[in-house]
Amino acid sequence: MHRRARGARVSAPLLKVEGLRKAYPGVVANDDVSFQIMPGEVHALLGENGAGKSTLVKMIYGLVRPDAGRMTLNGASYRPATPHAARASGVAMVFQHFSLFEALDVAENVALGMENPPPQRRLARRIREVSETYGLPLDPTRLVGELSAGERQRVEIVRCLLQDPKLLIMDEPTSVLTPQEVEILFETLRRLQAEGTSILYISHKLEEIRALCDEATILRLGQVVGVCDPKSTSAREMAELMVGSALHTPSRAARPPGEAVLEIGGLSMKSSNPFGTALRDVSLEVRAGEVVGIGGVAGNGQDELLAALSGEARSGAQTVRLNGQPVGNLGPNVRRRLGLLAAPEERLGHAAAPDMTLTENALLTGAVREGLVARGFLKWAAARGFAERIIADFDVRTPGPGNAARALSGGNLQKFVIGREILQRPICLVVNQPTWGVDASAAAAIRQALLDLAEGGAAVLVISQDLDELMEISDRFAALNEGRLSDPRPAQGLSVEEIGLMMGGAHDMEVAHVQG
């Protein structure tokens, strides 16, 4: 299909970017970046976190003014001073962190992103029409605060579509979506492409780019390092271009697991979140030197399980045991002292305090095991040393431990959060979504660190929605479904169908299968 678009390359490019440069104090975000997008083409912009993708698209959308270089749109010089100007020229953008207002309804949100919105009633009708045409059902009167992540993205997309954009910029659109929602999104994008709309698709998920895009420009450290056809280039080649070195696949020597370290027995618990899922009779054993992976669709009790293990939610003493010792009724700090550490999913606000420095964040969970407190007083020098050690050992890219956690990119903060727990030498580590929203090389580093930890004799429990990740690092695999945990099975040799059945909660079939 996309070849047809190429064949018609007699037409001029829609957008041509030449020699774009943008420097911030201390960093060159983009240097001499050039590429072009043909009409009706899906063009991928590929790069790691911090490669300069976001700055580049902000320049195209008029949020940031380039220091040098020029852009041409449809043959005419294009220098948008504001997003209004960009929208008026037919450039629309769907943001990575949604630019939506939760307390306003869908129609109001759409109106705010348009240059000349029609009156509310007519707008509501047009939203219904457009959303149905593109298979993105939306109710214009609902408050955005009540919508799911996928629905919120629909609001953003519909807002763009209502202006008939010639170029649609999508900044990491799939990072918050379920696999089903990703499919729906791709359907919509292919349809737009068939109608002649060009799409600039920013992502670091290689398989998505291979499935969707016609051409890819690869950025590294603010510069273009390669252009390729993603359909004929392997994911590995693209990843290596993106990272700039051969990509390291996590590996470790196989070794027999030891004694049971973490034992969960008959754990049932209500969720503290009114929209959460209660845990029902969860039982599991994690042995020393073993990585157990827990899969399942989000919202089936993952957060609750992590809370029950970290000590944020307490249960009966015997429901959670560490090395045979009952800890179910103990709080997080006592469990930390005993060696049971946890890293929750939400980086900002749960795993780390966003406005506090890295030193302070290191202190928050490291105080007990690293001895950073003496008689109620903080040992700042030791805390800073601990933070610096995390930064060095886990390759956290930041100017120093005095920086606020909020200032780090997602991948760097995730490396910091995981590294902080691993450096405390846990007996048992529980992590939820360790590589969510993290680029390929950082994700590989985090997985390798988890494997090394297990090799050192610790028990590791990984809760994740990334099945590939779980298959790569787990020894045994179990799935959460509506708060129930399936029986764990060896990860090696599990087929996709079997995993699907486990995630769907078909426990009986699974037993029959095992017996058969």
Binding site: K58, G62, P83, S99, F101, A103, E108, L143
Partner: protein, 310 residues
């Protein structure tokens, strides 16, 4: 006690007069807070408006010019708050408190020559036959024009926030300044405009006190009215009509308890004096409780400083 001395028509009419200063200040603060700015300097802007209005009215003999000067005075004072919080990113709570203290001191200084003078009066609006309607005529149609201006302001603010595009942008800025900036709206300009409007309204409320309600100039004469206005905005869940109800309720109970005291009610004066505060807060808390959508009226970015990162 003798309740027959209380005439309900006169009581209701004086209720409107007593409530108008708070209503004016509160409707201005509502707009400010809807844009995401918490200005605790309402008291200071009110009393600055009170003396600006009083002085100009006395010097020119025109109460109308007095009100214009009061609005200008309040707006100018609010701009010091605006510049400090929007450009220098100072803390809004601390800056607002400082504004109140500054306004109280500044007004005392400006008002030294005006103690004990009687300002020119503002006649009632002539509404012809409407004023002759029994009961209703006394209650609603024999007032000075500022009362009608304040009611029009409430209706105007309500319609502005609900139906106009500018109002939608203002609410969006108050809800998430980062998202509004990403869409290309000028967050700081919107907020400065809202702060100036709030200052002008507070100034009008102060001038209403010194020119009509009291009417004379005394130091510190607002006596906490600005703080009541602030509380009413919150308890009314940031809704224009809720602010009207809250202000009239407060003014009504205040007038009623004065009448009861005059009629010799056998209730300790302390209880009567605290009654307006208690009743207003109780009623508004009940009004705003248990309604999911009402809670969403609170602007999510309230009190947070905005700095464009790119």
């Amino acid at each position: 006690m003798d309740l027959s001395t209380i005439d309900p028509a006169i009581l209701l009419a004086s209720l409107m007069v007593a409530s108008t200063p708070i209503l004016l200040a509160a409707i201005g603060e509502l707009v400010v807070e809807k844009s995401g700015v918490l200005n605790l300097g309402v008291e200071g802007m009110m009393i600055t408006g009170a003396i600006c209005g009083f002085a100009v009215a006395v010097e020119t003999g025109s109460p109308l010019l007095g009100f214009v000067a009061a609005a200008a005075g309040g707006a100018v004072l609010s701009m010091t708050f605006g510049v400090l919080t929007q450009f220098f990113l100072s803390n809004q709570v601390a800056t607002g408190l400082a504004l109140t203290l500054f306004g109280l001191g500044l007004s005392a200084l400006m008002g030294q020559g005006y103690v004990g003078i009687k300002p020119p009066g503002l006649g009632d609006v002539n509404l012809g036959p409407l004023a002759d309607i029994p009961f209703l005529g006394t209650v609603l149609f024999r007032h000075d024009f500022m009362i009608y201006v304040s009611l029009a302001l409430v209706a105007g603010v309500w319609a502005f926030l609900k139906y106009s595009r500018a109002g939608l942008i203002l609410r969006a800025v108050g809800e998430s300044h980062d998202a509004a900036h990403a869409l290309g709206y000028k967050v700081v300009l919107v907020r400065l405009a809202a702060i100036a409007f709030g200052g002008a309204c507070a100034g009008l409320g102060g001038a209403y006190l010194s020119l009509i309600r009291v009417p004379q100039w005394t130091e510190g004469m607002t006596a906490g009215a600005g703080w009541i206005a602030l509380a009413i905005v919150v308890f009314a869940s940031w809704r224009a009509w809720g602010v009207l109800i809250g202000a009239y309720l407060f003014g009504g109970v205040a007038v009623l308890q004065l009448n009861l005291q005059a009629a010799g009610a056998h209730i300790p004066v302390e209880y009567l004096s605290m009654s307006p505060y208690l009743v207003t807060i109780l009623v508004l808390v009940i009004m705003s409780s248990g309604r999911g959508r009402a809670a969403l009226n609170a602007p999510a970015s309230l009190g947070r400083s905005f700095h464009a990162s790119s």
